[in-house]
């Protein structure tokens, strides 16, 4: 099989893995090395589905001894063509692409061949060879659950980021869909990587030439929509991962049924839309100082598909509004629907020169369509001080839909209409 044929199979096999970010690491090289890493991350292209292509994202092999039912590479998916790279092929491909500025680096993952340790050793060999070839670009390596911690530690010295996919939000769903995988096999190495990261950081402070360890931190991925787990559970887990495991990112991948024995579950709401709303909620956790319990509650455990999570929060907390953009703090600005991080910073900077008016806010990036119901400028309302949540929500919808489309009122307002989800504990 040619490298090109392998590439077509092993890129196909990797494409449902969503994390493709090259940010979070800034490392310069020298004149004898190829590559560096750039802090904000760079997109090199956008594939036909509109996603950013930043890294060469491939599996080392899509052969797998396991049978996780949500995964196209599961052993029982017989019609799947299989391939396996050699370490040198991966090295040549990565360097060849990098020199042509196609990519920021490599994102290497793999199906499990023979056993986790054997697979992890193969991946380790690839990254070692890559660095030996003086490749200094970004490398994101998947840690294989169940592999020896020694191998994980060794690999961590060669890569920028490591991730161990947690895949499913609950132990029950994992038992159901990936019976061979153990929750602990995923959580334990995360904790281990976290510990090692701080150990090596301390070393780095003491000795200038100490090796680095996963300098861009670790991430993970959760599959959304393969089980009936509500959004509340998902963002509660993410919150815990950010806080306790110090993860840099949690990625969410909406489940794509693939192959003949694909599972089908859950309500048929637009999965992509749901994924989008979960990313917005995740954003609120990471950059806007929200807690999971502010975003959702056990009583209304699912995100509203019609308005974004910040709006949902604002509609539940109308007593905090309107806020006066010329007076409130930065953190309060961030809580206003239609005001983003950059805009909030611009407002803070411009406020020093005098009070702002509505027309200036608009030019500075405030989305007035949403914000106008929630703000005043030096005491003056925009003229839209209609504070009834039901009407407000209708007013803010992107494209107002007739009320009697597929979604019932019950689904739209589970809180108000007695919606209840059982077993909400993590």
């Amino acid at each position: 099989m040619t490298a090109n044929e392998k590439l077509s199979i092993l890129a196909d096999a990797a494409k449902y893995d969503v994390s493709c970010s090259s940010s979070g690491s800034a490392r310069s090289g020298d004149k004898t090395m190829l590559g560096n890493t750039a802090m904000p991350g760079i997109c090199h292209s956008y594939s036909d589905d509109g996603r950013c292509i930043s890294l060469l994202k491939i599996l080392f092999t899509n052969k797998c001894i396991y049978d996780c039912s949500y995964c196209i590479n599961r052993q029982s998916n017989a019609e799947m063509p299989r391939a396996e790279f050699t370490p040198d092929e991966v090295v040549d491909l990565t360097i060849g692409f990098y020199r042509r500025n196609y990519i920021e680096g490599l994102f290497l993952s793999s199906g499990v061949v023979r056993n986790p340790n054997y697979t992890m050793e193969l991946l380790l060999l690839v990254v070692k060879k890559l660095r030996a070839a003086r490749f200094n670009g970004y490398v994101h390596l998947k840690g294989i659950p169940g592999a020896d911690h020694m191998l994980i530690e060794e690999a961590g010295k060669y890569v920028d980021r490591m991730s161990i996919n947690i895949e499913l939000p609950t132990t029950q769903s994992l038992r159901l869909l990936a019976p061979e995988k153990k929750r602990l096999d995923m959580i334990a190495p995360m904790g281990f990587i976290k510990e090692k990261m701080s150990e090596y950081k301390a070393l780095g402070r003491q000795f200038k030439n100490a090796p680095t360890f996963v300098p861009a931190g670790q991430s993970t991925q959760l599959i959304v929509g393969a089980t009936a787990d509500p959004d509340y559970k998902i963002i509660k887990i993410s919150e815990a991962l950010y806080k306790r495991m110090a993860l840099k990112r949690v990625y969410y991948s909406s489940y794509v049924p693939v192959g003949r024995t694909a599972i089908t579950v859950g309500p048929s709401i637009d999965l992509l839309k749901r994924e989008h709303r979960i990313y917005q909620a995740d954003w609120l956790l990471r950059y806007y100082g929200f807690t999971a319990d502010e975003i959702l509650t056990p009583e209304s455990p699912n995100l509203d598909m019609d308005v974004d999570p910040k709006c949902q929060w604002a509609l539940r907390n109308l007593h905090l509004f309107p806020m006066d953009v010329n007076r409130v703090t930065f953190l309060e600005l961030l809580r206003i629907p239609g005001v983003g991080n950059v805009t909030a910073r611009r407002i803070m900077a411009a406020r020093r020169f005098g009070p702002l008016h509505f027309d200036a806010l608009k030019k500075m990036g405030v989305v007035m369509k949403r914000a106008k119901y929630f703000i005043t400028c030096s005491g003056k309302p925009f003229g839209a001080s209609d504070m009834d949540p039901f009407r407000l929500k209708q007013l803010m919808l992107d494209a107002p839909k007739p009320l009697n489309n597929q979604l019932s009122l019950y689904e739209l307002y589970p809180g108000q209409f007695g919606g209840n989800q059982n077993g909400l504990r993590i």
């Binding site: 490298a3 090109n4 590439l7 077509s8 890129a11 196909d12 990797a14 494409k15 449902y16 310069s28 090289g29 020298d30 004149k31 004898t32 090395m33 190829l34 590559g35 560096n36 750039a38 904000p40 760079i42 997109c43 090199h44 292209s45 956008y46 594939s47 036909d48 589905d49 509109g50 996603r51 950013c52 292509i53 930043s54 060469l56 994202k57 491909l93 060849g96 692409f97 020199r99 042509r100 500025n101 196609y102 003086r134 670009g137 794509v256 992509l272 611009r346 900077a349 411009a350 020093r352 020169f353 702002l356 008016h357 200036a360 806010l361 030019k363 500075m364």
Partner: protein, 253 residues
């Protein structure tokens, strides 16, 4: 009064020096580059000479008053090649000197915002160019890239590629402005460069291009095709320079 400068940044600063010196209401003056000058019937025209001494005074004053970041933004805005750059710069500075130290951050002011927008457009495009520039390997181990950015940003992407592709010889060619940056593993120099004609590729170049297209095709989730989003993120005007999107090359496949 219409002030006219020679189109260089130094020229613009020299003219600004005169305009501030001449005083007068902000709305009564405009500043245009000589090649963009429309025949002005109703207004007096004053052609300004480029005087390094005046220009330096303005630069120093901007640095002292507003700091290096503000100056960097003005430089970027100049590269936008915006026909109204001169007037925007003049109006922005007029306002900024009234407001003082951190004035350039005051985006609620329309004149400061106008110049900021020029800066921001250039900053954005140069960031995306760091991703979209494509090199091909030529016969003698030279990596060649051509592109036609909307703004004149060749100089802005050089440091990035110098740091990143440090161990290879490369050329980045702006075919619209007919100039190129040459890197020889040590230093970069910029000079004029016309059409380079047919290129002599290395023996493996076509293999890599083919594999990149394979990768590009297979990494997309077909069930979720989204050409609108793709074009919004990666405007069509750039496609002819992209290995994965260039239609003429795809026809050869």
């Amino acid at each position: 009064m219409v002030y006219v400068y020679d189109g260089s940044l130094e020229g613009a600063f020299s003219a600004i020096y005169q305009m501030f010196h001449d005083k007068g209401d902000v709305n009564s003056h405009t500043l245009v580059a000589s090649e963009g000058l429309q025949y002005a019937i109703f207004e007096p025209v004053k052609t300004c000479e480029t005087q390094p001494e005046w220009s330096n005074k303005v630069v120093q004053s901007i640095l002292d008053t507003f700091g290096p970041e503000a100056f960097r933004r003005i430089g970027y805005a100049y590269l936008s090649e915006d026909a109204a750059f001169g007037t925007k710069l003049y109006r922005c500075l007029k306002r900024a000197y009234k407001l003082g130290e951190r004035a350039m951050e005051n985006l609620s002011d329309p004149d400061i915002l106008a110049l900021y927008k020029c800066y921001n457009a250039v900053a954005r495009e140069s960031h995306s160019m760091m991703g979209l520039i494509r090199f091909s390997e030529l016969n003698k181990g030279i990596y060649y890239a051509h592109f036609e950015p909307t703004y004149d940003l060749l100089g802005l992407v050089i440091p990035h590629f110098k740091a990143r592709l440090a161990d290879q010889i490369w050329v980045i060619h702006d075919t619209k402005r007919k100039k190129a940056a040459f890197y020889n593993k040590e230093t970069v120099h910029i000079s004029d460069l016309d059409d380079v004609g047919a290129l002599d590729f290395s023996s493996v170049e076509m293999d890599f291009q083919k594999m990149w297209r394979t990768y590009f095709d297979h990494i997309a989730i077909i069930e979720r095709k989204n050409p609108k989003l793709q074009q919004q993120k990666m405007p069509k005007k750039y496609w002819k320079f992209l290995t994965e999107k260039d239609l003429s090359k795809n026809l050869l496949k």
